[in-house]
Structure formats: C-alpha cells, structure tokens
Amino acid sequence: MDETILDAFRQNGLSRRAFLKFCAATTSLLALPPAAAAAMAEKLAGTLRPTVIYLSYQECTGCLESMTRSFSPTIEHLMFNNISLAFNDTLQAAAGEAAEAARKEAMRKAWGKYILIVDGAVPMGGGGAYCVAAGQSAVDDLRHAAQGAAAIIAVGTCAAFGGVPYAAPNPTGAVPVSEIIRDRPIINVSGCPPIPEVMTGVIVYYLSFGMPALDRQGRPVAFYGNTIHDRCYRRPFYDEGRFAHTFDDEGARNGWCLYELGCKGPVTYNACATLKWNQGTSFPIQSGHGCLGCSEPDFWDKGGFYRPLPAATGHWPRGEVLGGAALGGAVVGVGAAALARSRQQAAAAKSAKEVSHPPPKEDSHEH
C-alpha cells in the first residue's frame, strides 16, 4: 500500500517518459493549461496509490460499463497504476462473505483516506428495504462507508441526482447521495451513463490537485462548464433556422438541428459534443438523435424526450381547458354587460323622468 503512483508505473514496466505522457494527455483532456502537466506529474509521482471503494446501489451497471470503455486513461491503467480498487462487486473475482471481508479490511486500513465512488440512487422507503446487500440496507451502508471517506464521487445521474429510481412516482423513495451525506466533499459526475473519460479524468484530477472546481450542481466545471448546444457541431443550423422536423425528412438527412425533435442540448451541461464517445467517434446528436439531457437533474420528468424545449411540459387537455376558460370568460362578460345594461337603463329612466318633470330652478324666486 505504500507504493506511489510512479512506483506502480515502473512496476508495470512503464517508463518515466510514459508517465509524463500520461500526465500530459490527462491534463489536455481536462482542458488544463500545459504547465499543469508538470504539476500533475510532480504530484502523482509522490502520491500513494489511494484505496478506492466502489459501491453500487439502485443502478443498472451502465456507468461501470461506460467506465470500462475509457480510452484515456483506461480503467485498467487506473486500476494498475493510479488507484488501488479495493472493492467493486462487478469487477472483482471474490464474492459473498470473502468480498465483504476484503472490503471491511480495506476500509479499516485506509479509514479517513479512501475515495468512495457511489453508483446508483439510495432508496429510503420501507426503512431502506428496497436495496439490501449482505444484510445491510444501502442507506446504512453508505452512511458507514462515507464516514471513512476523504471524498465521494457520485458516478452517474442516479447517484448524483436520483436519476431513474428518483423519477416520478419514485416508489422506493430513492434519493441522491448528496441528500444523505452532507459532511463529506462530493463530486457529482452525472450522465446516464457519464462519459468514460470524464469519470476516469475526475479521479486523476482529484489525485493530482484535490477537489476540482464544481458548478452549482456539484459537477466538475472542466467537463460540465458548457451546454451541449453551445458546443454542438449542428449549432450553425440552429442559428440559420434549419431544422429537422421528423427523423426521416430532408432536414434529418442533411444533418440539421434537432431542436424541434426535442433535443435538450440547450439546457444540458456535459462534454458529449467535445469529448464524444467511443474514443471520440460520435455522440447522440451526431448519430441523428437529440440530446435527452441525461446529465441534468430530473431528466426523466421534463415532459417527454421528443417534446421541443419551449413546449409546455404538462400533458393537459388544452382544448378542454382553454375552451372552458373562454366559456367562463364569456359568462362573466355577459354578467358584466347585464350589470352595465341595468345601470344604463336606470340612468336613462332617471334622465327621462327629469325631462318630463324638470326640477324647480333654484333661482326662480329670487327676482
């Protein structure tokens, strides 16, 4: 456990030059200035490989599937050189009591110093009974593990914002990590799943420089600082007013903007449009589908993936409601007019009476 990250590189047959190249590539990925590569190399060379505990709760394993596709740095590179992954129930060979015992031992040894990665939302309903492993509920497990963590990385939209389990009607009372743990630094790495390089990049950044700058949703600004829309290669079509109206019209074939088809790019902060997926091959919009806004809170409950952003979110019966409002307004209008008519009638009657019986002139007796 006392080996530094540079030691781990050397043990695996990698040169110092390879280590420096890794630092340069990672700082470039993080959009850091070139000088940060040297700072990262200096820091990582002397940093002990930290223990990482990866806990999974209400999740689909999509985030881990995504992370294993990271190409720079790769997950195996991270595991063999940068971190000591002490527990991950999907990747590890051990299972059952042996795995639990290994986790407890790793946590005890690195108590107060390990990085806790949480994947999935945590159900609070039924006393936490909706997610139980090794006889312990997810919420109790998380509370205990968080006590010994130096920092928590909430991986995926479920852990960061509740995600799918949190979506209405939220039958299990699912909540994000930040609603349970309030006394530990938490980095939200949202996305369904998050971009692999974002997950691994955040881990490396934390090892090198500590807590990254976070946005107001607790996400690293380096990856979540811009909207998809602002970095989208189809943005010029939006500005020109060229849109695909259906998924198979001329606009779609020409690769025009997908805003009308419900793309949530304008309100979604993520790096899909710049880092892309599968080694920079493509991302959903490039493949012809609008952004679902998966890295944003409550993205399942935004009125529908294919409803344009400016459209009303509610699925209310517009004809009936607005027709009822028109009818109600007309009834009130008739009432107001009837009241005005009766006043007009009273004023006319009074006027007619005054004409037929003029009041005596006040000055008639004075002369």
């Binding site: 914002f161 509740g162 949190y166 994000p176 107001r216 949703q217 909207t227 829309h229 602002d230 939006y238 500005d239 020109e240 007013g241 849109f243 805003y259 009308e260 304008p266 309100v267 944003e296 809170p297 409550d298 935004k302 009125g303 409803r307 344009p308 952003l309 400016p310 459209a311 009303a312 979110t313 509610g314 209310w316 517009r318 409601v321 607005l322 409002a325 028109a326 009818l327 109600g328 307004g329 007309a330 009130v332 209008g333 008739v334 107001a336 007019a337 009837a338 005005a340 008519r341 007009q344 009638q345």
Partner: protein, 221 residues
C-alpha cells in the same frame, strides 16, 4: 432537485397553463362585456348603405395618420410602427416561439434565422425606449399616462430583454434566463386582457364600431 431546474419546469408547466387560462378567460370577458353593452338606437336617416362595410374600412384607414396631423405626429407614428413590426417579427419568427404556438394551437409556419430575430428584438427594444422617453417628456402624454401605461411598457420590454439575454447567455446560465424570460412573457399574457394591452384584440372592434356609427351619419372616418 435543483431550484433553477424547478423554476424552468414551473415556467414551462403550471405558470404557462395559468397564464394561458387567464389570457383566454380575461379576453373573452372583456370582449363579450363590451360587445354586449346596450347601444342607443340611431334614429337618424342612414347616409350610407351597409355602414358596417365602412366600419371595416375604418380599421385600415386609421392605420395611418390623416394628412392634417402628419407634420405633428408622423415621426412618432413611424417609431410606433417600427416597434410593432419588430415585435411581430420576434414573436412569430423565432422558432422556439413557433414551437410553443404549435404545441398549444397546432398551427405552425417556417421560422426566421436567429440573426434576423436578434436584429428585430434590438429594434423593438430601442424603439420601446424611445417611446418611453417620449411618453415621459411630452407634456400632454405625460399627464394622461397612468400606472397601466408604464407597467404594460415594462411587461413588453422585459420578455424582449430577457429573451436576448438568454440567447447570448448574458447575466446567468441559459436555463435561468430562459425561465425568467418565460415567466416574464407569461406575466405579460396574464396582464394583457385587463390593461391597455388589450388593444391587441379590441382595436379591431373599437375602430369598426366607431367607423360604422360615424359613416352611418355621413361623417368621414
């Protein structure tokens, strides 16, 4: 989960519904209440046949000042036209607006490039500021202006300004500015039937009725 996301959801959901209901309810209230008012019978001999046709004509003839008044008001009339035209371009030309209208009414038409919309919004804002300055400095106009005039001005100015700010990310994140833009426009819709802004609909009827009555009596309208 987050306040700013909730604000945008509120603007796109309950606030939009409430604003539309108030708009439709209020507009029908005002319109029916005015149209159903008692009118005294005109016992004089009609000077023209089908006076209502002259009423329809008046709707259009009053769109430009009469020759006698032109030297005095033509320039402000032009500014007013500029504002109304620019506002119309912004409202019916911007694609997000068209999508909202399509969502509510089912009607749709092609949009304009955002550069054109930005220019029109700039023209509308500048002309609105000029019209406000005119209102505040003109001795007569100032005296006949009340809260309705200034508040209505503010509610027209605010969505234009916040819309531009949202598009160019000025003063905050897009989703916050978009929420504020939508809420300000919804406030405008709810306020419209009960203010002088109701002229958007009522001008047709007031001009038509005035034109009909006067032409029946042989007056030029």
């Amino acid at each position: 989960m987050s306040t700013e996301a909730d604000l945008l959801d509120f603007a796109r959901g309950p606030a939009l519904e409430a604003a539309l209901v108030i708009l439709v309810f209020g507009m029908f209230w005002r319109l029916v209440a005015v149209l159903a008012l008692r009118r005294s019978r005109d016992l004089s001999e009609p000077r023209v046949r089908h006076a209502w046709l002259w009423g329809v004509r008046t709707i259009f003839t009053r769109m430009w000042p009469r020759r006698e008044f032109r030297p005095r008001i033509l320039h402000w009339e032009a500014v007013s036209y500029l504002f109304h035209f620019a506002l119309a371009v912004v409202i019916v030309g911007l694609v997000p607006h068209i999508l909202l209208i399509r969502d509510i009414t089912g009607l749709s038409w092609p949009g304009l490039p955002t550069g054109v919309i930005t220019f029109a919004a700039g023209v509308a804002l500048i002309s609105l500021l000029a019209l406000l300055a005119h209102r505040a400095t003109h001795p007569v106009l100032r005296r006949i202006s009340n809260f309705d005039d200034y508040f209505s001005w503010l509610l027209v100015f605010a969505p234009l300004l916040t819309g531009l700010m949202a598009y160019y990310h000025l003063g905050g994140p897009y989703e916050d500015l978009l929420a504020v833009h939508m809420l300000s426009a919804e406030l405008l819709l709810a306020w419209l039937p009960f203010s002088k802004l109701a002229h958007t609909v009522l001008f047709l009827f007031s001009r038509g009725v005035t034109g009909t009555i006067y032409s029946r009596r042989g007056a030029q309208t």
